[in-house]
């Protein structure tokens, strides 16, 4: 490591001139070696990063070799033309193929092709330029391959060209995030991907069906919409350890089908627009299927899963959650046994830590219905087997106390560590 002169020794409170973080006279920033300045630039957005070229001679030619690029339309706060120009000139100086990480955020509605913004075209052309490179000779990585480890795209239109590129020319890609993208592609496949996030994406045409990656550890599918009501969304990810789903009536109309996931340790399932979901039988069965697929996890979080299990659905629906140690139920109904949450509690013999959050608005008449149902429940259904329960945390809001106490009494001999928080 080269010694970089000028380091102030011994003075903890260096004679600072300015308030806040004082520099004490030297320019320690410019004194950092190139690669550390690139590290700092990797945390900056593109326009400000480019502007460093005018700070001093030291900085003039630094930025084009930056390993991480973050192009964000919001940083420019400008109209289409200015953003278009900016990205055009920037991408001529920095080759996406050589980046370690690339983030491109385009405002929703900006990229409609044609005369209006066409950010997707930049990516397509960068991909096509790489595809034109000669194919790999045996054993060598193709010169058209991208070194990218992290790619985050927001607001773009993506198609088969993109999918093929990810599949075959991104051998180091570990982290892929697509946010509010309009996708017309068949599958996302990769042999290196570890983390995949699909947030608010729409899948057009009856094509998209599969996520496939033997290395995938974390998967997030958050809202979005899918045209294809017939085929299920297939996830083939043997190594998956963590799953986060936000399910709406629109994103898994054909259901979702998970392959074997022996390493799945943690799952979170949030429901939005629950009323609509709960009413449609085929959507309900999709929900139960999701629960079955994650039944071997050690840690489960359910949010908004205020869903009742109808007569006849029980036996086919609820496996044992035999590995479940930690359960968080948020807005999932008060554990009526006819609710999903009650079923899960009954089938989790090794549960150690339970967190219940239930903050119901007083405007909700459903709550009142629930109260009377509680009183009529057959006592035989009260048997909950959580003998190892070590810690219970309940976050509730004012007038639910009565129901909560009733609910608690069902477990009472098993609740050594109780922590109740009233949140107003």
């Amino acid at each position: 490591m080269e010694a970089l002169g000028k380091r102030k020794r011994g003075d903890d409170a260096s004679g600072g001139d300015a308030a806040g973080c004082s520099s004490g006279g030297g320019d320690r920033l410019s004194a950092l070696p190139d690669h550390l300045l690139h590290e700092v630039m990797s945390h900056m957005k593109a326009r400000q990063m480019v502007q460093t070229c005018v700070l001093s001679r030291r900085w003039r030619h630094l930025w084009p070799k930056v390993p991480c690029l973050d192009i964000d339309q919001r940083e420019l706060n400008a109209g289409h033309d200015k953003f278009d120009d900016f990205a055009y000139f920037l991408l001529r100086k920095v080759s996406v193929a050589r980046l370690d990480a690339f983030r491109l955020h385009v405002n929703e509605g900006f990229d409609r092709g044609g005369l209006v913004g066409n950010a997707s075209a930049w990516i397509r052309r960068a991909i096509m330029a790489s595809a034109q490179a000669p194919p790999a000779r045996e054993g060598l990585t193709s010169s058209g391959s991208w070194r990218l480890r992290r790619l985050h795209l927001s607001g773009l239109r993506l198609d088969g060209l993109f999918a093929e590129h990810v599949r075959s020319r991104c051998p180091s890609l570990e982290d892929l995030e697509l946010r509010v993208c309009k996708c017309r592609l068949r599958a996302i496949a990769s042999s290196s991907l570890e983390s995949l996030s699909l947030i608010g994406c729409s899948w057009a045409g009856k094509e998209f069906s599969e996520i496939s990656s033997p290395t995938l550890k974390n998967l997030v599918v958050d809202r979005g919409s899918n045209d294809d009501i017939d085929s299920p969304f297939v996830v083939t990810a043997l190594a998956l350890a963590s799953l986060f789903l936000v399910v709406t009536p629109y994103n898994f109309p054909g259901g979702v089908s998970f392959g074997e996931m022996p390493s799945l340790a943690r799952a979170s399932v949030h429901l939005k627009e629950r009323e609509t979901l709960a009413k449609r039988a085929h959507l309900r069965s999709h929900l139960f299927k999701i629960l079955r697929s994650v039944s071997n996890v050690a840690s489960l979080e359910l949010n908004g899963f205020d869903v009742t299990v109808k007569a006849g659905e029980e036996s086919t629906t609820f496996p044992e959650f035999s590995n479940l140690r930690t359960l968080e139920l948020d807005q999932c109904g008060l554990g009526h046994d006819i609710h999903v949450s009650g079923h899960i509690l009954r089938n989790s013999p090794n549960l150690e830590k339970l967190t219940l959050t239930y903050i119901e608005s007083s405007k909700d008449t459903r709550k009142k219905k629930g109260t009377s149902k509680m009183n009529n429940i057959d006592q035989n259904h009260m048997d909950v087997r959580c003998e190892n329960l070590k810690l219970t945390k309940i976050i509730y809001k004012d007038d639910d106390v009565g129901q909560l106490v009733q609910f608690l009494l069902r477990f009472s001999r098993n609740l050594p560590n109780n922590n109740k928080t009233n949140q107003d």
């Binding site: 903890d12 004490g24 945390h43 900056m44 480019v50 502007q51 005018v54 900016f86």
Partner: protein, 158 residues
Amino acid sequence: MASAGSGDEKAATVTLISSDNEHFEVPEAVATLSQTIRHMIEDGCTDGGVPLPNVTGRILAKVLEYCNKHAAASDKDELEKFDKAFVDIDDQATLFDLVMAANYLDIRGMLDLTCQTIADMIKGKSVEEIRETFNIKNDFTPEEEAEIRRENQWAFDD
């Protein structure tokens, strides 16, 4: 707290020696947050201690504060709070010393944290404000500076 190794024997430690000859005995589980030290332990060259000529005792103490916390805690919120307080430093010299130490010791998390902090100090500032904050001397002639701005007009406001 750093957990002891399994079994009854005391957890393995390694001694780090700062440039000003302060000795720090550190559990291996904590020290190996530094890839540099991890490689040395794996190569078996840590007997008698590891000299770190580029890091003073004062900075090494801070680095170990970071490593201790990150080796032990697993709660994300807790770590975030710690990190925020860790880089809430009044003098730039310490911040830059930490960047250099994180780089030399190859502690990825700390390097990201400190570089992010510097980037945050730059964010939103004009070129002149950045120069002022960090004492960067503008060694361009006015003509040179104008030329650079013209060449990169697409990145500067009109």
